[in-house]
Amino acid sequence: MLASLSRLHKASFFRRVVFAQASIPPVLLEELAENVFLQTWETFVRKLADGSLIVGSPEYTGLFFVMFKRGYLRELGKELRRVRVENEYGRSPMGAESPTDEAFSLRTRQALEKIGENCRQLLTWRYIEGLSHDAIAVRKRIDRASSIKMVSRCGRRFAELWRSIVHQF
């Protein structure tokens, strides 16, 4: 199954998530996509086996792609942040990004505590609960475009707070 999934769909899946950029070389992006593809497969199979994921039909590639896309974009976001930190502060002598990852979580929590209630709620729904803008719009009783704009505005405010906490370290 993995062989046929790779042969038939991998290239088109990659075209739907990988984009060219300056900060990460294409070969590393491809490698990241390859690794996420395999990890997604592993998770997919494990969840099917333990019953936590149920596929109603033999056609499973759509669901697999959604999992792959989420995983790839999550890893890419982390990689972009790591590259930005390296560019700003230099490479950690520990060689890995784990120390900064720990700090990111702490800073994120502190920034969330500082931001206003409305923004905290929106950011929590969007980035922690993973709600779509349609779902946020229903909860807030606003339209989707407003949800997109409000989350974006809150995101900027959050980023400012987050950076100010970094400078206090």
């Binding site: 999934l5 950029q21 974009l73 990689e79 800073r107 779509s132 803008h133 475009a145």
Partner: protein, 257 residues
Amino acid sequence: MDEEAYLIRIADYLDGKMSPAGEEEFMRDVSGDAALRALFEQELEMAALFTPATPSAAPVRRTFPYRVAAVAAAVVAVAVGVYIVTVDRTPPRSVAAVASDTTRVVAPARPDTLRATDPVLAARYYQPYESAKDPVEVSYYYNQYRRGRYADVLDAKPVDYQVLDAGGSKNARLQRYMQLYKGLCLLEEKQPGRARRYLDSAWTSPPDALTNTAQWYSLLAALWQGDRAAVHNLADNLSRRPNPYQDRARKILQELL
């Protein structure tokens, strides 16, 4: 295009509201439009801030074969499940209906997963590397690999292990061993794509003992990736010349046929 329109496109992409063709087009636009790309990357970085701290440098994991075996077993279970689901359950048709059917009969595709899948084979044949006569200059890194301290090996630079008063060929050999060790560590960390790049750079022509080892582990990495062409090529190479992996390469070839 103004920023609001960009934000809506980004949200559409992230919320899965685009068709596959639309997503490909969006990726092309992100590649070519710096303003759109900046906003999109900002969005991804924002999401990354809310991701729980999970270091990408995987923790020491010395149980690769066991974990792979568990995954392999799950693959087989799913394969059997999918086969059961896809078996034709349509009611039998009458002889007349069959005779009048002028459509071309195509044999149903049997899932190739009824045989051992590639990761299953990789798990069956994988054994951590054991040194025979590796150079003493890199024994520290070999030991770190065996202890599961992969970061030490992966972070090593030529200046860390090369010998100052040695000739170029001696240092080149040490470098090849380090490429092997790095590839082995990445295999343990389940990054077969990166592992293959290191392993492949340890080969020489004509092949020596180190090349045989590097090719064997490249073969397992390719199996793990499902890269059948590379697996055939490497297994064919290893099965044609005397080396410790010859029999295993032959068996893999037979199983893949």
